[in-house]
């Protein structure tokens, strides 16, 4: 069996480049001499700045990926979509009830969804975008928050939506409403903040401020890990 050629040929906005096989799109662009100022952020697949659309050869299917995560392929024709114009409502989440009416009044275009599912097909995170828009129409805020949790806000869904919906802004509003009004408050956090406010940690802190390096290392190595877990284990 013949070994695969060491180089692949890809096309960046129509311009041909030959690069070593196995590079990510982002590294292939840099190998080809580009310096990335926009459309490049965390380089770790989390920030969503490097949304990229591409086709392979003559296959009609439009493909997508994050440039920092997707390996460049032979006959890949690509362009980056580092930014997509998107309306964004301004609001104070404290003042908004977590209802369908809130979502619809701030983003009335969600009712224009025709159910084509193009958003789902274009999502590099494989999020069920159309499903969460359906949940948004019904006012199921918890479901929108849950389904959209892995969204990086790369904007590719909005770029393809025939109803001109900006799905990821609807989703982040739903996640804010969820955490503000629906999710159970973190009682352990409230208790800990109150304890700090009462000064219960002050003495321990003063010990550390006064300690030298060797003493600090010893304290660190002997530290209590997840004290509440230990407490809970002790009670059982």
């Amino acid at each position: 069996m013949a070994a695969e050629p060491a180089m692949v040929r890809f096309f960046l906005m129509g311009k041909r480049h030959d690069v070593p096989r196995g590079l990510t799109i982002q590294k292939a662009m840099e190998y080809s001499g580009y310096r990335l100022l926009r459309g490049c952020g965390c380089r770790g697949g989390f920030c969503g700045a490097c949304g990229t659309v591409y086709r392979i050869g003559s296959d009609y299917r439009l493909k997508v990926g994050l440039a920092c995560q997707t390996v460049v392929e032979d006959q890949m024709y690509l362009a980056q979509i580092p930014f997509f114009p998107a309306v964004k409502a301004t609001y104070k989440v404290e003042d908004l009830p977590p209802t369908a009416e809130t979502l619809i009044s701030l983003y009335p275009e969600i009712l224009r969804c025709v159910g084509c599912n193009t958003c789902r097909k274009v999502c590099p995170q494989e999020i069920e975008v159309m499903r969460y828009i359906a949940a948004a129409q019904r006012g199921d805020i918890a479901k929108v928050a849950d389904l959209s949790f892995d969204c990086l806000m790369c904007g590719l869904c909005a770029s393809r939506c025939p109803a001109e919906i900006v799905q990821y802004h609807v989703a982040i509003l739903a996640r804010r409403l969820y955490s503000r009004h629906i999710a159970k408050p973190a009682t352990h956090l409230t208790r800990r903040v109150a304890a700090i406010d009462r000064g219960e940690c002050d003495a321990d802190l003063e010990v550390m401020v006064a300690a030298d390096s060797a003493r600090l290392k010893a304290l660190y190595n002997a530290r209590e890990i997840e004290p509440e877990d230990l407490e809970a284990a002790g009670q059982e």
């Binding site: 969804c113 025709v114 159910g115 084509c116 599912n117 069920e128 159309m130 499903r131 828009i133 359906a134 129409q137 025939p162």
Partner: protein, 264 residues
Amino acid sequence: MEELPEWTCCGATFSMSADSAMGLVAPTRILASAKEAGKLLTLCSFCYNTLKRTNRVIATDAEQRRKVTTFIEEDYQGNVQTVHLLEVLRDEIGFEALAARVSKRLDGLKVAPYYGCLLLRPAEELGFDDPERPTILENFLKSLGCGVVDFPHKTECCGSFVAVSSPEVAQACSARILDAAVKQGAEMLVVSCPLCQYNLDRVQRQVQAGRGRATGVPVLYFSQLLAIALGCEEGCLHLGEHVVDPRPRLSKWLGQTSQATALV
């Protein structure tokens, strides 16, 4: 009976344009998601009309089927039968069997059945009931113990979407239906369609009482009366969200144990 794990709006309107495929996309995906079951149940007249007519296109028009199913990337041949809850009650459970299960007979309640358009027409596509002289709601109401009020406007249009563009036209349609029903002695109307419910209920806030127009006539979903007659908890019925509160007229059957009516 199993709820679909995921669903979207069906589009709520069957496209009037024969060569438009976009309106078929969402209902076809919903139908395809039920293809294992082979039968899809709905409560809503809009869903019933849209899903059933879409399925007919997919089953009979090879060109549209190819276009829509390749777009949604589903192999779907149009094998799902869309059924309305009233049809299930009539054909699978049977109104006699339903009557036997009623724990609170709604005796003495005079109800006008209102069909509107979407359950019945186009009759050759839907095959739901006789489009001019339907009887399914009448028989349903009788099985709950209600007195059925016949009236000539039960298959007239309530004004439907015209309520958005020309509200006064829709109001006139709805008011005429209510007046006709009340003239025949109806205390309330039952419907299956959310837009009929909206138009008929809301118009009573807009027309002026005492000017020859019927007001204070509750408009309920058939499923709400069904739930009351079967002894369901009132809390799940949202009766307080109607414009015309039906609870005063229904107080005899609400929050009462089913044993009290077992003697009837």
